[in-house]
Amino acid sequence: MNAKTGRTLFWTALVALALAGLFLSVLTGPVKTTAGDLLEFLRRYDRVQAAIFVDLRLARAVLAFLVGAALSLSGAILQGYFRNPMADPFVVGVSSGAALGAVASLSLGIGATVLGFPAQGLTAFAAGLGIVSLVYLLSSRRGDLRVETLLLTGIAAGALASSLTSFLLFMRSDSFDQAVFWLLGSFQLAEWAQVGAVAPWFLLALVVALWLARDMNLLALGDEAARALGCPVATVRKVFLGAASLLAALSVSVSGIIGFVGLVVPHWVRILIGPEHRRLFFGASLAGGTFLLYCDLLARTLLPSELPIGVITAAVGAPFFLYLLHRKR
């Protein structure tokens, strides 16, 4: 099998898996429904069925897909940016920073919208970008970026942000379910308005990432070599870091911290279709969405009451992280 047929197979399988996941998600829930019910509903409108199939389940599935795609694309960008396969929005601290930003704006009662952007999303973005810049500065002193330093700094900054988040949450009265939501993530209360808030920004970031994918390929050769080949390194780096932070912050502001998606998915995709960044960015988005869709299905069905989705993604992602770390040594 040559590379081209392999890739065709990859795309076909991925789209089929995504559609199957979407279909399963719409049929699965605490209220028992069958494919027959769904067909019946498509023929004849019913108020209660509409709420269950469209307002609750489909909105949830679409949001899970979008967030998975955004986290995975963010991870793919960060891995290219740091030239390191272990980077991901959770590991480098963006996600935890974004959660801190979102919770801080909630706690301070900033509920306004700025340019149609909810304040919560804006502070999440600012805090996420702040943390990742800080991590970058702290770990790249004296010019070169050491991987161990980067990971440890990211993990420490993330832990600090999470502890501040917990502190803010426990000052409030309804703290427990809020803490679980922000620190472990959930799509339980997903709604179409959230899909509407995330989708345009995700698409914008995806287009920008695809546009600059060639420059990311050059960055893989090292900044000096890339500059010599005509890549405006400083600008490209700024745009990519902004896009990765935006994607992670958006995801966190609607679904809390969901770790490791951005770590594992780009890896799998790279193994299957290679490291070329245009294909990787697109493939990672599609695969990340599909991955999180199935994780959410598991979170909803494993136990009688729902599991936070971060529990599932960490159960899959953390062992993989350890494996990567081990292989590197």
């Binding site: 829930g29 209220v31 709420a51 609750l56 809020q178 209360l189």
Partner: protein, 273 residues
């Protein structure tokens, strides 16, 4: 939820209750057969056990609530606000009640539930009978001199007790006694073993689900807990309060008040000391 609730024009016929005390009040208002969904903790009166479950107090399931197609959802503080908001966004009418810090808030709470369910008359009757019974206990305690010191133990894990912000603290005052943990500015708090020995309460109330749990709690106080020196334990003034009745802000709280008052001051109720 910070929004004015518009009273329904006609009596709701399909009600979902998201808290056990709300379920009890609905049954007391004769609305038991209109409840189409309740939490897994709604077990009183017996009829409530047969109602379909929508989840728990902190994890009511939005999809199940929606599938029951209710025309009124009654939530309570303790339900996560975000879940209540999500239910409201599905177009269901959601009425949210706050918990009171004193028994005084109970009759108005019942009247508000009466208003949203259009059972105003029955609610007014229930509220005024509760007010009368609360007033009667107050009258019996008029001019009381010595207030015995009381410790409330929520038997189970650790020395949980009710602090000064709990409505049980209010019940204790109305029953003519003084809660040793009243200085703690909380609803529920963990108490210290040494502090109980030092406070030396004259009476201990053990909140327990069953007589067997109560017996275990009383034995633990006497032996395992090493409270042998405490007056209540020495003189055998350790009494049971029904945990569900005492921990739900509903009509049975008045039963609890009457029981407390009679146990603390039998002489005031024409009974031998």
């Amino acid at each position: 939820m910070g929004r004015p609730f518009v009273l329904p024009a006609k009596a709701p016929e399909r009600i979902v209750s998201l808290a056990p005390n709300v379920t009890e009040i609905l049954f007391a208002l004769g609305l038991g057969d209109r409840i189409v969904g309740a939490t897994r903790f709604c077990d009183h009166p017996d009829g409530a056990r047969a109602v379909p479950r929508v989840g728990g107090l902190v994890d009511p399931n939005v999809e199940i609530v929606r599938s029951l197609d209710p025309d009124l959802v009654i939530g309570f503080r303790g339900n996560p606000l975000r879940v209540l908001e999500r239910i409201g966004k599905l177009g269901l009418s959601v009425f949210v009640l706050d918990i009171g810090e004193s028994l005084e808030a109970l009759p108005p709470l019942i009247e508000r539930i009466g208003a949203v369910t259009r059972t105003e008359e029955r609610a007014a009757r229930l509220a005024s009978s509760l007010r009368e019974r609360i007033g009667a206990v107050g009258a019996a305690m008029a001019g009381i001199g010595a207030r015995p010191r009381v410790f409330v133990l929520l038997y189970g894990q650790g020395l949980w007790t009710c602090g000064g912000e709990s409505y049980l603290d209010d019940l204790i005052s109305r029953a003519g006694a003084e809660n040793v943990a009243a200085h703690l500015p909380k609803k529920w708090a963990l108490y210290k073993r040494e502090q109980i020995v030092k406070d030396d309460p004259r009476v201990i109330f053990v909140l327990s689900k069953s007589e067997a749990d109560f017996a275990a709690g009383r034995d633990w106080l006497a032996r395992g807990g090493r409270f042998g020196s405490v007056e209540a334990v020495r003189t055998g003034r350790v009494h049971r309060l029904d945990e569900d009745a005492a921990s739900r802000f509903g009509p049975r709280l008045v039963d609890v008040l009457e029981r407390m008052a009679r146990l603390l001051h039998p002489e005031r109720f024409g009974e031998g000391p």
